[in-house]
């Protein structure tokens, strides 16, 4: 395969990943690494470098649209970014130390978990008393609902903070956005409204990824000629995806995408564990 064809095929494959990622709400980043390692036999270090860059592009590219919706909470996001960026520092450092096979296995497990989490999506009701720490940190807000504004206050802030640290570490280790874990931390642990969790998570993904990007760059994980078609493809796909409003199909699409992710996850675990791929 020559250089031009390789770039063209990568561009369109990445566009497909970005499109599916945006339509299903899972984000395209999570399939870029398996796509590159399994289908194109790219070393996992170059793959996570390309993936991380694409994650920043989709997060920042979609931000304007999310702001318009008015659900994201800037204080919740900024406070939790302390945890995700610190986690990302550790995760990115680990990629330079941990054997390739181990990264592959962890990646596979995270894929399986993301598929499971995306289908579950059960929102817990707000039952506990407001967390005093959340009041002091002003982790609260109003969210538009059918019958006017609904007020919310974050709960179990330390648990959410800890989970966010984990999300950051996984993001740095695997070059992904870790959107699924971020949403779990805000939705399940901190009991924030689902819309607030997903849009705030999108905002946080770019900042978290930027915290690993420096180390990736200086470790030579970003191969310009490989990143170029991947980043442009994912960005194009996600921008197109966010414009297509196919609300009725989302459930089916999510099922299909979850199945694809499960297959990729198993493939990555098997390949890495047998020491052949990854």
């Amino acid at each position: 395969m020559n250089e031009l064809w390789f770039a063209v095929i990568l561009f369109f494959s990445s566009m497909g990943a970005g499109l599916l990622g945006a339509l299903s709400g899972l984000g395209g980043g999570v399939v870029i690494v398996p796509l590159l390692t399994i289908a194109f036999h790219v070393d996992i270090h170059y793959a996570i470098g390309a993936s991380l860059v694409s994650v920043i592009a989709t997060s920042s590219g979609a931000a304007a649209a999310y702001v318009r919706e008015g659900f994201s909470n800037i204080r919740v996001g900024m406070f939790l970014e302390i945890a995700t960026t610190l986690g990302a520092l550790v995760g990115a450092w680990l990629t330079t130390k941990v054997p390739t096979q181990a990264i592959g296995v962890v990646f596979g497990l995270v894929l399986l978990y993301s598929a499971y989490a995306s289908l579950k999506q059960k929102h817990a009701e707000m039952t506990e008393k407001p967390d005093p720490l959340a009041m002091r940190l002003r982790l609260k807000g109003d969210v538009p609902a059918e019958d006017g504004l609904h007020h919310y206050v974050a709960q179990r802030v330390p648990v959410g903070f800890g989970l966010m640290w984990m999300a950051g570490a996984l993001s740095g280790l695997l070059g992904i956005g870790s959107g699924a874990v971020k949403v779990i931390a805000m939705d399940q642990a901190m009991r924030l409204p689902f819309k607030v969790s997903t849009t705030t998570s999108n905002f946080m993904i770019g900042v978290t990824a930027a915290a690993s990007a420096g180390l990736y760059w200086r470790s030579g994980y970003m191969a310009p000629s490989l990143v170029m078609p991947v980043m442009l493809g994912v960005l194009a796909g996600s921008l197109i995806g966010s414009r297509l409003l196919v609300k009725a199909e989302v459930r089916t699409l999510k099922m299909v995408f979850a199945l694809v992710i499960v297959a990729l996850g198993i493939e990555m675990i098997v390949h890495s564990a047998t020491g052949m791929g990854g």
Partner: protein, 123 residues
């Protein structure tokens, strides 16, 4: 959410989108140049061997861009992209300063320090 928070977020959203589009345009320009110059077989990505040293430093990329090196131009675009979330945090620091929210000026400054550390010093 107060009206002021909303205003910070609107600026931030516009800035992020502009940053991404600018970065994508630079990457695309470098990519087209790269594909015009390189017609050979695909490079070896199957084995990790890092990147040349000149692509891993700011001064090296600066020099590469000045001499029209395609890969340096792509890297410049990627660095612009990485800079957009950092700029977002800077804008939040400024926004919270306007709101006189000392706690969140401190919180967003801490995030900024972590980011700058990771970009330039983390090993």
């Amino acid at each position: 959410m107060t009206w002021n928070d909303k205003r910070i977020e609107t600026w931030v959203g516009v800035m992020l989108r502009t940053g991404v589009m600018l970065a994508a345009a630079v990457v695309l320009a470098g990519g087209v140049l790269y594909l015009v110059q390189n017609r050979g077989p695909r490079p070896d990505y199957e084995h990790f061997h890092g990147e040349p040293a000149h692509l891993m430093s700011l001064s090296g990329i600066e020099h590469g861009v000045a001499t029209g090196d395609a890969r340096s131009i792509i890297m410049l675009g990627l660095l612009l992209l990485i800079a957009t979330p950092v700029a977002r945090v800077v804008m939040c620091v400024v926004g919270f300063l306007f709101e006189r929210d000392k706690l969140y000026v401190a919180v967003s400054s801490l995030v900024l320090v972590i980011l700058l550390y990771s970009l330039f010093f983390h090993r």
